[in-house]
Amino acid sequence: MGLESALGEGYITTQLDALIAWGRKNSLWPMPMGLSCCAIELMSAGDPRHDISRFGMEVMRFSPRQSDVMIVAGTVTYKMAHVVRKIYDQMAEPRWVVAMGACASSGGMFRSYSVVQGIDQFLPVDVFTAGCPPRPENLFNALIELQKKVEKSSVLDYRDRKEPIIVS
C-alpha cells in the first residue's frame, strides 16, 4: 500500500471494522451454560487432547458479564429456561449463542411435558450443532463457523440474524 510505505515499518492500514472483528473472532470467551450430558463433552473440549484454547476460547467465564458466546449445552427444561434467558440478558453486547446438541437445538429425544423444544423459542441462536451429544470436534466445527460469522460482522451492526448456521 502506498500509505504504509510512506509511514515506514511498524504501520499497517486497515478498516476499523476488520480489525475489531478480527480481535473479536480470536478471543471469543464462552459462557459454558452446561446443563446436562453435553456439558461433559464441553468439558472434554477443554481437555488436553481437544484443547479449546487453540481457538482462543479456553477462558471459560461463569460470569455472564465477562463472556461473549453462550454455549447452551444440554436439555433446557421450562424451569431452567427462565434462568438461561436471565443469564443471556446479563451478557454484554456483542453476544452470540451456540445451541450445542439436539436437546438445545430442538428438544432432541425428549418430547415430554417438561422440556423446551429448542432454545430458539426464547433465545436468538447463531449456530445449531447436531449430535447427541456432539463430539468435541463437532463443537469446534460450530465454533469455527461462528468465528467466520463474527469475522464478517460490522462494529455498529454486528448482528446478522438473517440465517442461523446449522452444523451437522
Binding site: M33, G34, L35, S36, C37, A39, I40, E41, M43, S44, G46, D47, P48, R49, F62, G74, T75, T77, K79, M80, V83, V84, I87, M109, F110, R111, S112, Y113, S114, V115, C132, P133, R135
Partner: protein
C-alpha cells in the same frame, strides 16, 4: 420541594403489602425498621440478622443445575435446602410410551458420566422381567465395560472435587485418562460417550481383538497415572485440611437417609451390591469392598480412589476369564435377530418384524433390579401389563437419594466448604432430576 416535606407514609402511592409479613412480634429488627422507614436503625449485635443466599442453578461448582438455598450466619451455614428439578426431563413418563428396546437410549442420558452402567442396570431389570439371561460371554463383557465406566465416572468425581477446592491441573489429567476410556468405547461400542450398548438378551456386538488390546494397554498404564495424580493432591496440605472433618456423617445417619455407593462406604458400612447381591458375573470375581470409617469428605474421596484400583482388578480378571461363545441369548421371540440373518431368512425376518413393531411383550408382573453403579444403588422398577412397553417404570437413582443428605452435611460448615462436600457427594443432576 413539597414532596420532601411529606411524611414517609405519603411518599408512595402504593400501600405497603402486609399480608405475607410475619406478625409484629416475630419481625426482625431490620424488617421492622424497613417497614417504618426508620433511617436511624442501629444494631448492638451486627450478626443478629442472618442472610439467605441462593447458590445455583447456574454455578460452576454445583455439578450441573442444582440449586441450594442457604441461610447464613456470617459465613456459617445455618440451614441448607437443595432444590431439584431443573433438569427434570420426564423419563418415567417417556418410558411408558416407548418399547423396552427404545428406552435403552434414554438410560444413557440418566447418569451421563457412566452411560454404560445405566444400560446394564436397565437391561438386567428387563431380562429379569422376561425371565431370560444373557450368555456368559455377554455377561463378562458387560461387567468389564461397566467397570471401565465406573473408572471414568470416578475420574470425573476425583478431578472435579479437586478443581472445586482449587487444583485445576488434576481435572485436566483426569480428562486425559477419560479420553482413553472414550477411545476404548469408540472402538468396542461404536460411540465414545452415549453408548446404548446393551440389548435384551445380550449386547449390541461382540468385542474384537483390537478392543481387548486397547483395554489391556489402558489398564497397563493406568495405575501409574493414578498414582501420579494422587500424589498431586492427596498429601497436599490445603486439600487435606479442606476435606478432613468436613461433611461428617455417621453410619447410622447415612443408612437412615438412604445413602448408597461410595458415600455410604465412606461412613464405614460395607454395603456393595456387587458382593451382597451379585448380578452378572461378580460372584465369580475376586475383589474387595472398600470402606473408610471417618465419614467425611476425605474418606469418600479415598473410597473412590481405591475403588478405581478394585475396578482394574475386576477388568483384569474379566479379560483372563472371558469365555468364548455367542453374545446373544437364544430366545428368538425376545432377542433381536442379527441383521445378516434378517436379510437372508424368513423366520428371523418375522421375529424382527414382531419385536420391532409390537415389542417383546413380557408377562404381567413387576420386578425391581438394582446394580451398584459408581454413584450407588441404581435400580429400575418395572410394572408390566403384558404389553410391548412398561406400564410404569420407576428409577431409583442414587444421586437423588444421596442429595437428601446435603442439608445435614452442610449444617454448621463454612460457605466455602460446600464445594468440598458437594464434590465428595458426587451427584449427577441428570439422574437426580430424572
Amino acid at each position: 420541594m413539597s414532596d420532601k416535606t411529606k411524611s414517609s407514609s405519603d411518599l408512595y402511592d402504593t400501600p405497603v403489602i402486609t399480608t405475607h409479613l410475619p406478625p409484629r412480634e416475630k419481625r426482625t429488627k431490620m424488617l421492622q425498621a424497613l417497614l417504618d422507614m426508620d433511617p436511624d436503625l442501629s444494631f448492638d449485635d451486627p450478626l443478629e440478622n442472618d442472610m439467605v443466599l441462593n447458590m445455583g442453578p447456574s454455578h460452576p461448582a454445583t455439578h450441573g443445575v442444582l440449586r441450594i438455598l442457604l441461610r447464613l450466619d456470617g459465613e456459617t451455614i445455618v440451614s441448607a435446602l437443595p432444590e431439584l428439578g431443573y433438569l427434570h426431563r420426564g423419563y418415567e413418563k417417556i418410558a411408558e410410551n416407548e418399547t423396552y428396546h427404545e428406552f435403552i437410549t434414554h438410560t444413557d442420558r440418566l447418569d451421563y458420566l457412566q452411560p454404560l452402567h445405566n444400560n446394564v442396570a436397565y437391561i438386567l431389570a428387563v431380562e429379569k422381567l422376561l425371565g431370560i439371561e444373557a450368555p456368559p460371554r455377554a455377561q463378562y463383557i458387560r461387567t468389564l465395560l461397566s467397570e471401565l465406566a465406573r473408572i471414568s465416572s470416578h475420574l470425573v468425581a476425583f478431578g472435579v472435587m479437586a478443581m472445586d477446592v482449587g487444583a485445576m491441573t488434576l481435572l485436566l489429567w483426569c480428562f486425559r485418562e477419560r479420553e482413553k476410556i472414550h477411545d476404548i468405547f469408540d472402538l468396542v461400542v461404536g460411540a465414545r460417550f452415549t453408548t446404548s450398548f446393551t440389548r435384551i438378551g445380550g449386547i449390541a456386538q461382540d468385542i474384537q481383538d483390537d478392543g481387548i488390546a486397547a483395554i489391556r494397554a489402558f489398564i497397563e498404564q493406568f495405575p501409574e497415572r493414578q498414582l501420579e495424580a494422587e500424589r498431586l493432591v492427596s498429601r497436599n496440605r490445603i486439600f487435606y485440611d479442606r476435606c478432613r472433618n468436613t461433611g461428617v456423617i455417621s453410619a447410622e445417619d447415612a443408612l437412615a437417609i438412604g445413602l448408597t455407593g461410595p458415600n455410604l462406604r465412606g461412613s464405614g458400612v460395607p454395603l456393595d451390591l456387587r458382593r451382597d447381591n451379585p448380578y452378572m458375573v461378580y460372584d465369580q470375581l475376586d475383589f474387595d469392598v472398600i470402606t473408610e470409617s471417618e465419614g467425611d469428605s476425605l474418606a469418600r474421596y479415598y473410597v473412590r480412589l481405591k475403588e478405581m484400583e478394585e475396578s482394574l482388578k475386576i477388568i483384569r480378571q474379566c479379560l483372563e476369564k472371558l469365555p468364548e461363545g455367542s453374545v446373544h441369548a437364544h430366545e428368538p421371540k425376545k432377542v433381536l435377530p442379527r441383521k445378516e440373518r434378517i436379510y437372508t431368512r424368513m423366520e428371523e425376518l418375522i421375529h424382527d418384524f414382531m419385536i420391532v413393531n409390537f415389542g417383546v411383550n413380557p408377562p404381567e408382573g413387576e420386578v425391581y433390579h438394582a446394580v451398584e453403579s459408581a454413584k450407588g444403588q441404581l435400580g429400575f422398577h418395572i410394572v408390566s401389563r403384558g404389553e410391548g412397553h412398561p406400564w410404569r417404570l420407576k428409577i431409583r437413582s442414587p444421586s437423588f437419594c444421596n442429595l437428601q443428605a446435603l442439608p445435614q452435611l452442610l449444617k454448621g460448615h463454612l460457605l466455602s466448604d460446600i464445594l468440598a462436600i458437594l464434590g465428595s457427594l458426587d451427584p449427577v443432576m441428570g439422574e437426580a432430576d430424572k
